[in-house]
Amino acid sequence: MRKYYNKIDNIAGNVATLKATGVGYEELAVVEGSWGKSLAQVIKVSGDNVSLQVFSGTRGVSTGDRVSFLGASMRFSFSDDLFGRVFSGGGEARDGRGELTDNLIEVGGLAVNPAIRLMPHRMIPTNIPMIDVFNTLVEGQKLPIFSIPGEPYNELLARIALQAEADVIVFGGMGLKYDEYLFFKNRLEEGGAMNRSIMFIHTASDPVVECLQTPDIALTVAEQFAVRGKRVLVLLTDMTNFSNALKEISITMEQIPSNRGYPGDLYSQLASRYEKAVVFEEGGSITLMAVTTMPGDDVTHPVPDNTGYITEGQFYLKGGVIDPFGSLSRLKQQVNGKTRDDHRAIMDGCIQLYAKCRETREKRAMGFEMSDWDNKLLKYGESFEKQIMSFSANIGLFDALQQCWSILAEHFEPRETGIRSNLCDQFWPKK
């Protein structure tokens, strides 16, 4: 028997407070009024005062609106019927195909026991040389894309989604522009990946609270598939919007901010989402890629800074390319020794030469004289950028390695590359 309450005492920000009894922490409630109805979640109980976070915001909510409690925390339906569907950040159908109500599972579940995790050990090929060769993506990895607004991070994400081999793609969009949402939807449909994808979309015009729900629902669904042995790829964009939503809510709740207005538990909040990335012994896995836009290209901003401490490296998108210096895949060592003998040597060799090329460019900019060696480096840098770093490069790992060798051969003698001589003997292109 459901009990109704008809009196809300306080409304501030997205939080409404009322008097009620027998309510559990994090329980769901429904707020109904002349403006419509919305789900809400209990975020504090104290005596008979209950604070509710209203998902659709409190705009138009009246103190006389009706509140009822559902006796359970947030749940979401899980089944294979999810494939191809689009939901809102709050978990409501967004594609007009009706709500799903079977097999409800609790959202934002428990942490995985570290003792049963496996070390990530399988490479995920993406056909992007800057990833495959230089910072290999590994199944079960959590990796953000650090980017300033305006960089093609969404294109990168969409490409990875389409080219990476995954059984299930779960997409969580937070604070997206509507056309970004359509962009992703179209790309997944064109690429024929929609039938293995599930989308959770919170657009910039949707209520802030739903932004907080988006990654939780997305990751809960992903986890269910992973437990069932599926290899799941989760794409989240943009975690900075998520963090800003956290900031908004915590300030409404009068929490003392720690750094630039963000709550003190920002690290824990981000970590509990990112840490869903996992490899299970039975073969299921979650690989998590998330966009973090950096306000003002400032990597010490609290969101990228905390993220960097949590994730296993980062792809740093700068000037339209994946920057080889700021980017790092901490797990690449787990896989790049097993691909081909020359993989690690090419990875180090090409980047060291490219670093020298950058130094030479600085020297040139300062007006120092260019030696023959300097000119070689400059030319090498151009070829490397055009053929390997460029976004248009779309080749598999072995082809990319071959391409690297031919660029090296075009500009250098084997001994100038610093690559071990036995590898040069084996792989150096014959003229």
Binding site: A111, V112, N113, R117
Partner: protein
């Protein structure tokens, strides 16, 4: 006597209960959910009848009016044989056992015994009936892995007790009685298990000593330039990606120490998994056994509940103190103390305490100081020396060392190994910044020699900076050679390749030998006038010294490398003489 209470407030992981009866600060309480699940909590503030508790689990589903059982016992650990090689969460639940019982996920409300009750231990008595003992004196011993694990009189004993009976040599389980003590007609049964509250330092010894012996980590930059001593404390602050955790892992592998306690506090689960999966297969060169047989892992990763993260560092240090009491040299590696400080901050915020800098509580500094002060080297009651060395990583926001946790830590530690992003960016590992770091301890090489070598690094840096402005052309050849020497020292001595089988660990004699060789180069007067030739020479020397570093000690390969170095040097003198 325990009492009960009723929940009046639930807010995040903080719960307030109204309690009838007595309440003890820091006592354990259990919040009972309406489905019967009991959530472990700790009382952290008392206001009249109200007890504020931090709950070690997700508080989802708790209601106002739910029952709280308040116990009298402070948050305590189970101590005894069988801890080594275990993987515990922050509350000392064995995680593999937990997985076997409840599956992949950490279900709230499941608590397991820390020590295996089924295992037999070979007990040897060390006292006879009638002997008089005080707290922490040895009654007997068992063999745990390669160590003698002494079974001690209870730590909580006051005054002198007489051994009424002692079990004969034989196999016993941890919870079986092995001795009975008596005093003033009172008797006390003793098993191999002791309980000790984590927040109270455990130290029963004759006296605390000054650290005098270097703890060898086999990392040249640490042992020679910024050493740590047995019983000392050190910290490793660094921005993300600078290699803090890698350095901790290397230390846990190679340090010459009896027992390593790894406390993964609020960090990535993946890193613990690496240790967890690899240590059972890696050999400890000192004992020939696997590394896991000298390791205890306390694992409270970032996605596990925050309150348990806060207590996990205390769990780890209490285990360290216990094994020091047993008589071992213990190293505690806490990664990362910033996450622990953040947990303090979260709780302080919920308690609505007046915040200090960056919203950290005002007692942050004293909490850090108390934590590190629990380390130290001591003379036990039986005259043996034992130590607990504490190393903590710090993850400063934005890599800025001016923040409260780094600053609070620097005041209380004996060595500061500051990691720099610039060095890790340039792939110079370990990325310890040689110009910012310091150590108050003495290392494996005489202090004057080290500071003489260190002066090259300082001068090299300022010459390099000058060169950025005036170019190579504007730099004198003497300065240029000093710069090359400093780079040489950096390349062949400070940097160490952890992927190379030989170079990964550099024992003391090898360090001393290499240091002499490097000193030889630093002292050498090179009569070169051409910068390109100078650079070329140092390139060659660096390459040859690296070959030496990669050669097994006293192998033919090493001899070849040594001859090559000699040839390079004598060749130079011949042409320039």
């Amino acid at each position: 006597m325990s009492s009960t209470g009723r929940i009046v407030t639930v807010y995040g992981n903080m719960v307030t209960a109204e309690v009838e009866g007595t309440i003890r600060q820091n006592a354990v309480a259990y919040c009972q959910r309406s489905d019967g699940v009991r959530l472990m909590s700790e009382i952290i503030r008392i206001r009249g009848k109200l007890a504020d508790m931090q709950v070690f689990e997700l508080t989802r589903g708790l209601k106002v009016g739910d029952v709280v059982e308040i116990t009298e016992e402070l948050l305590s650990l189970e101590l005894g044989p069988g801890l080594i090689g275990m993987i515990y969460d922050g509350l000392q639940n064995p995680l593999p056992e937990m997985a076997a019982q409840v599956g992949k996920f950490l279900e709230p409300g499941h608590y397991l015994k820390a020590l295996d009750r089924k295992q037999d231990w070979d007990f040897t008595p060390l006292v006879a009936p009638g002997a008089v003992v005080t707290a922490a004196e040895n009654l007997g011993k068992v063999k745990e892995k390669i160590f003698d694990h002494f079974i001690m009189a209870p730590f909580s004993l006051t005054g002198e007790w007489k051994v009424k009976s002692i079990a004969p040599a034989g196999k016993y389980k941890v919870d079986q009685e092995v001795a009975t003590l008596e005093k003033d007609g009172q008797t006390m049964p003793v098993t191999m298990i002791q309980r000790w509250p984590v927040r109270i330092p455990l130290g029963i010894y004759r006296e605390r000593l000054l650290p005098t012996q270097t703890m060898v980590t086999k990392q040249r930059i640490i042992d020679t330039f910024f050493p740590v001593m047995l019983g000392g404390t050190y910290c490793i602050p660094g921005p993300f990606g600078a290699g803090k955790t890698v350095l901790q892992q290397i230390t846990s592998r190679y340090a010459e120490i009896d027992l390593v306690i790894v406390a993964a506090c609020g960090e990535r689960a993946g890193e613990v998994v690496e240790t967890l999966r690899e240590f059972p297969h890696l050999k400890d060169p000192r004992t020939g056994k696997t590394l896991i047989e000298r390791t205890i892992i306390i694992c409270n990763t970032s996605s596990m509940p925050v309150a348990a993260r806060e207590s996990s560092v205390y769990t780890a240090i209490t285990l360290g103190e216990y094994y020091r009491q047993v008589g071992l040299n213990v190293l505690l590696l806490a990664d990362s103390t910033s996450r622990w400080a953040q947990a303090l901050r979260e709780m302080s915020g919920r308690l609505e305490e007046i915040p200090g800098e960056e919203a950290f509580p005002a007692y942050l500094e004293s909490s850090i100081a108390r934590f590190y002060e629990r380390g130290g080297i001591v003379e036990l009651k039986d005259g043996r020396k034992a130590s607990l060395t504490v190393g903590g990583t710090v993850s400063p926001a934005g890599g800025n060392f001016e923040e409260p946790v780094t600053q609070g830590t620097l005041k209380v530690v004996g060595a500061f190994l500051g990691l720099s992003y610039a060095r890790s960016y340039a792939r110079r590992f370990p990325a310890i910044d040689p110009l910012e770091s310091w150590s108050k301890y003495s290392g494996v090489i005489a202090h004057e020699k080290v500071s003489w070598a260190h002066s090259f690094l300082k001068r090299g840096k300022s010459i390099f900076e000058m060169m950025q402005v005036v170019g190579e052309e504007g730099t004198s050849i003497d300065d240029f050679i000093i710069y090359l020497k400093s780079e040489f020292l950096d390349n062949v001595y400070l940097q160490q390749n952890s992927f190379d089988e030989v170079d990964a660990a550099c024992p003391v004699d090898r360090q001393q030998h290499l240091f002499e060789m490097v000193t030889g180069i630093l002292e050498h007067k090179f009569e070169i006038t051409n910068k390109a030739a100078a650079r070329d020479l140092f390139f060659t020397l660096t390459e040859q010294f690296r070959d030496w570093n990669y050669s097994p000690w006293q192998s033919d390969q090493m001899k070849t490398a040594q001859d090559a170095i000699k040839a390079t040097l004598s060749g130079k003198e011949a042409t320039n003489a």
